[in-house]
């Protein structure tokens, strides 16, 4: 069975992100997964990579990956594609990895399916990616007809399923060329992690909109999220008003999420917001305006004042927890 390269995705503290396990699950449908690990820390991750079916782990422990933007990673992947002739390359649909995929596609004269929500083997065994375009209103099946297919998988879209693999480590020596060292990283400030799950990886997302009225009012969204063990999201209106930070924005120009449950509080549901959340499995909405478009796509809606409905909901959740 041919190899499928999987670019390991880690957070800013070096920990393996869940999407890496989702990538391994998707890669097993296409061939034998080989993880590509950039930088240090592969030993600690080995057991989990094995648990999710990695057969090999190519470890390139070079400081160049952290020291320069995306180009060194693309250079290493191009080298591995030429050497191993994999059936496909899978990366996470995150900012950094999508740009690595972009540069790789140019280097190996191939194509990228960006932000796919599902991956399957086609009749010829080649990968077929599913896109949820225009905010999920159109489902597209796409393939790569030239070169080694590159797919960037949206975090949270495929459920990670374990399946034992050997995860045998193989060191790859690598030093970035001068051309890959043109954009130098001089300082890093990792995103504050806090106690909540990552927005794009969370099972439940609780989002607040204009109806929260102020940064103070927005605390009720955090309280509900914490009661449910959920991530917090925000509409563009909230971010533009400065009530909540930009990295939590859900919608056309923010993050696209598809959690098991999306709770929209004080969000009217403009088309730009729906574009970021309407592929969520279940949607619950609270809004004082009965005509708000969010109710057209909600599985359950409450028309009422969020400042009375949400605290009661939090109380009920806490009571049920005992």
């Amino acid at each position: 069975m041919s190899e499928v390269l999987v670019l390991a995705e880690r957070d800013s503290s070096g920990e393996l992100k869940k999407v890496t396990l989702e990538l391994l699950t998707a890669a097993r449908r296409l061939g034998s997964p080989s993880v590509v690990w950039l930088g240090p820390g592969s030993d600690a991750a080995q057991p989990r990579l094995a648990e999710y079916g990695a057969e090999k782990v190519y470890v390139a422990d070079s400081a160049d990956f952290a020291g320069y933007v995306t180009a060194p990673a693309a250079e290493l992947l191009a080298h591995l594609v030429n050497e191993k002739s994999p059936a496909a390359v899978l990366v996470a649909g995150t900012n950094d990895s999508k740009e690595v995929a972009a540069r790789l596609a140019v280097k190996i004269s191939s194509g990228v399916l960006a932000d796919v929500v599902d991956v399957a083997a086609g009749d010829d065994g080649k990968p077929v990616g599913t896109h949820a375009n225009f905010g999920g209103s159109v489902t597209v099946h796409a393939t790569v007809r030239k070169g080694t297919p590159i797919l960037a998988l949206r975090p949270g879209a495929v459920s990670a399923e374990p399946s034992a693999g050997a995860a045998e480590a193989e060191a790859v020596s690598f030093a970035a060329s001068d051309e890959a060292k043109l954009a130098k990283v001089t300082e890093r400030a990792p995103a504050e992690k806090g106690g909540r799950p990552d927005l794009t990886e969370a099972q439940i997302v609780v989002s607040g909109g204009r109806g929260t009225g102020s940064a103070d009012g927005f605390h009720v969204i955090e309280d509900l999220a914490d009661a449910m063990g959920a991530a917090v999201g925000a509409s563009r209106a909230v971010v533009d008003a400065g009530w909540y930070p930009h990295q939590f924005q859900v919608g056309q120009t923010g993050k696209t999420v598809s959690p098991q449950l999306y709770v929209a509080v004080g969000i009217s549901g403009a088309i730009q917001h729906r574009a970021g959340m309407q592929t969520s499995k279940t949607i619950v909405a609270v809004n004082k305006d009965a005509e708000a478009p969010i109710f057209e796509i909600a599985d359950f809606g409450v028309v009422g004042d969020l400042f009375t409905v949400v605290p009661q909901l939090i109380d009920d959740i806490n009571k049920r927890k005992g």
């Binding site: 796409a142 809606g301 009422g304 049920r320």
Partner: protein, 259 residues
Amino acid sequence: MNIVVCMKQVPDTEVERSLNLSDNTVDRASVDGVINYLDEFAIEEGLKLKEANGGEVTILTMGPEKASDSIRKALSMGADKAVHVIDDALAGSDAVESSLALAEALKVVGFDLVVFGCESTDARTGLVPAMVAERLGVPQLTLAGKVEVSGDEVTIRRVTDDGVATVTGRLPAVVSVNEKINEPRYPTFKGIMAAKKKPVQTLTLSDLSVDAGQVGLENAASWVEDFAKRPPRQAGVVVKDEGDGGSKAAGFLAENKFI
């Protein structure tokens, strides 16, 4: 400084968008074309960098005849001139092909700093700026929430899911910007009048070192096999809060085992 802002005309996001049944490409004809939302920030950033450092702002766009409306708007915001790459052979190009045509056009136009919006609202791939940087062999200073030019050194704040990084490189360089970087200006009446007289140069593939066999739908590596409109979500139960709305919501969540 010679600043080139790459701009794309996209279908308006305010209305329902789809693909063409005939060739599975984005339906651009039946929907109004607008400047890609994120490109408005790229134009604004280009203008601000010109104001701070001197030089000239050129709008570069690739697209059909219809895109000239968006070019006029960009010029009315204050850009000095525009280059419109227009060729039927480019229709249906994927990101890899578009990046080739843009990179070759940039070589013809000349540039110190190329500014992109970090993604388009139609395909939303966010791939093209990195691809163009790769093709041109210049620093990729993408996903910027702040751009500073000092001499021939460009420093950005790169904002990603994982945090913020400070990244530097030397001119010439490619930058892409996010929508928090600035507040795009509105065209003034004077700007609109002035835009009518600003030069717009058109280039075809024969002006670039690009062969028709390297671009367009038929030669694209990524290929749409089929598409379907997602069935609209069915509206579920909506209750009016009569003092028990929160409890009813909790009931729904418990029934569905979320709590």
